[in-house]
């Protein structure tokens, strides 16, 4: 990496952090620290919500996901627009009227303390673990680029983010996220333009898309009803809807973002802005992966994108010859595939349908050969380095950035990834600290603590959760594709939490003991299903949520508990 790239990367990140600090200097109260003094306009809320969801994982894994699996991942976000509307209609007004710091406070108003603590506990559990993965993702890039140990990269990255988050509070988080999103949008647009410019002169955008389509990468919409398929229209619109409803409606890292708005109107507009922009944004990031995929049909890609691991495997003398042989075979297969792609483009230009179909068959066959060699290489690497991670999807986009982009833009793209990481981690740590402070520490042990004491406690708990996330980040390398790992983790817990909240909102007669036991049973059943079935993970949101609702209705006549309070009954 050149000095200019370092200057661009460090300069961008430092300027954003300084801007956040300057805009929020002098925050001395818990209202400002946790709710931003209710000053934020809709566009800051909207960008902040998007920045919280779009972590470094989004920019590392998503193009890799498109490269390996095509565009169908975009369906994951199909539940979002409707979820945003439901949250705007039912959830935002209740949270505003009750003037809560955390979403879980509402559960005590509606049910009782144990339900509130259960909701808050499930949030802490899954978000604490997810925060670990959020720290780990950019650490892979840096360790891979600079040859540092992954462990120490995690530690240094995590420590920097913890310090930044603790000093700022929620207002600084939102203000910096606005700038970070501007850098992210600019960086991704520039990257998109450059990938198109890097394609061979005879490959137009239409030809590139056709090649990707012939190789099954333009599968944006899939109406297949098989529940074992992870990404289909139906899983997105149902499971995705429940996941988004749970994430934006009950996850404190998001609730805290829109509760810092000037008014209900500003929060609603921020959420709806997110609902409208998120799907096109994900489409664009996935399409970037498709363009990188087509680019590597014409420019020889590495046989394995995690090059340091490949080189390490080659150093094992028992497997060196085998890997070199595979590299030669890969070279030959690449040339055949490139030739087949050229033939397809030519046939399309002539417009001969028979030749187009023949060329497509040839291209698919040549691509299958390349894939076969890649799979064989991964098996050899696994034998040479039994502890090595052989999934290289997360390295694809960053390899392209490092190898193909000009000086200066490499630094900008790294700043994009680091900005995304910082924005997500800061929101998560901020929310974890807030929940720990308000729902556990203040509620259980210090009900009469002064605001100054609570501010100090909030900062201390943010540090504590930062350290826990850091600990978990150390083990994240054992997980599959990173973005899927975060989403799977979310889906296991979100269904139950959402079930509790939906019971609170819509099943007004159900009482506290019933919903509490229903949530425990539902969570146990979801974990058992996850461990013993091959169900697509998005369905766990629907299953967990439905189980809570149904079981709460069944248990209520037997278990009962406390009914809604007067204050809560007044809410819409």
């Amino acid at each position: 990496m050149s000095t200019i790239d370092w200057l661009v990367m460090v300069g961008t990140i430092t300027l954003i952090a300084l801007y956040g600090w300057w805009k929020t200097r002098g925050i001395q109260n818990i209202e400002g620290y946790l709710r931003g003094d209710n000053e934020l306009p809709w566009y800051t809320i909207g960008l902040s919500i998007m920045a919280t969801q779009a972590s470094a994982i989004t920019f590392l894994s998503t193009p890799g996901q498109a490269y390996e699996d095509g565009m169908r991942f975009v369906q994951f976000y199909f539940g979002m627009p409707l979820a945003m509307i439901v949250i705007c209609v039912f959830i935002v007004p209740i949270f505003y009227r009750l003037r809560v710091f955390t979403a879980y406070e509402y559960l005590e108003t509606r049910f009782d303390l144990k339900v509130r603590l259960l909701g808050a506990f499930l949030f802490l559990l899954q978000r604490g673990l997810a925060a670990g993965i959020t720290i780990y993702a950019p650490a892979i890039i840096l360790s891979s680029l600079l040859g540092w140990s992954l462990y120490w990269t995690n530690v240094v990255m995590g420590t920097v983010v913890i310090l930044y988050t603790v000093s700022g509070g929620t207002k600084a988080v939102s203000q910096t996220q606005k700038q970070q999103m501007i850098v992210i949008f600019a960086g991704m647009i520039i990257a998109g333009i450059l990938v198109i410019m890097k394609l061979p002169p005879h490959i137009s955008l239409d030809s590139a898309t056709s090649i990707a389509g012939a190789l099954g990468r333009m599968n944006i919409i899939d109406f297949n009803v098989n529940p074992n398929d992870r990404y289909t229209f139906w899983s997105g619109i149902t499971g995705g809807f429940f996941l988004m409803l749970a994430y934006f409606g009950t996850d404190q890292s998001q609730v805290q973002r829109y509760l810092s708005g000037r008014s209900i109107t500003e929060s609603r507009l921020g959420l709806l802005f997110n609902g409208m922009v998120k799907i096109p944004m994900q489409f664009f990031i996935l399409f970037l992966g498709i363009l990188v995929f087509v680019f590597y049909i014409f420019v020889k890609p590495p046989i394995f994108f995690n090059t340091p691991t490949l080189n390490k495997a080659k150093q094992n003398p028992q497997y060196t010859a085998q890997l070199v042989q595979l590299e030669h075979a890969h070279e030959r297969a690449f040339v055949s595939r490139k030739k087949a792609a050229d033939t397809l483009v030519l046939a399309q230009k002539i417009g001969d349908i028979r030749k187009i179909e023949q060329a497509k068959i040839q291209l698919r066959s040549a691509h299958a050969e390349v894939q076969k060699i890649r799979v064989a290489t991964k098996l050899v690497i696994k034998k040479a380095l039994p502890r090595a991670e052989t999934k290289d999807a997360d390295y694809i986009f960053i390899t392209f950035v490092m190898d193909m982009l000009p000086v200066g833009l490499v630094g900008l793209l790294l700043a994009v990834i680091l900005s995304a990481a910082m924005s997500s981690i800061s929101s998560e740590l901020n929310a974890l600290g807030a929940t720990m402070t308000i729902d556990f520490y203040q509620r259980l042990f210090k009900p009469d603590a002064s605001p100054t004491h609570m501010l100090r406690a909030s900062k201390a708990f943010t540090v504590l959760w930062g350290l826990i996330a850091l600990g978990f980040a150390t083990f994240a390398s054992l997980l599959d594709n990173l973005i899927q790992a975060v989403n799977i983790l979310g889906s296991i817990f979100y269904g139950t939490v959402l079930g509790i909240f939906l019971t609170a909102f819509f099943l007004r007669w159900v009482r506290s003991h019933a919903v509490f036991v229903a949530a425990l049973v539902a969570q146990a059943m979801v974990v058992v299903l996850f461990l013993n079935t091959q169900l697509g993970y998005l369905w766990f949101n629907l299953i967990g949520c439905t189980l809570v609702l149904v079981l709460a209705i069944i248990f209520d006549p037997v278990l009962g508990g406390r009914a809604s309070s007067q204050t809560e009954k007044a809410a819409p």
Partner: protein
Amino acid sequence: MPDLSKPSDSPLVQSKPEVPQDNPSAARSNPHRPELDDVPPILGSWRNIYILNMVIFAVLVALFVLITRIYS
């Protein structure tokens, strides 16, 4: 250990019922709680804004179906 079946009595988490909860128009104009303002800035009502949101989604899905059919 606190009683798990009683609601919070903390000054930090108490609701502030100065707004008449059963009267939405009062919430819109309440000078003590400006954050409860929920007047839609465009299209006349929130319902119309939500419909716009869903129309944009439907257009996107239709576009995606078209792209999938053309290129797959």
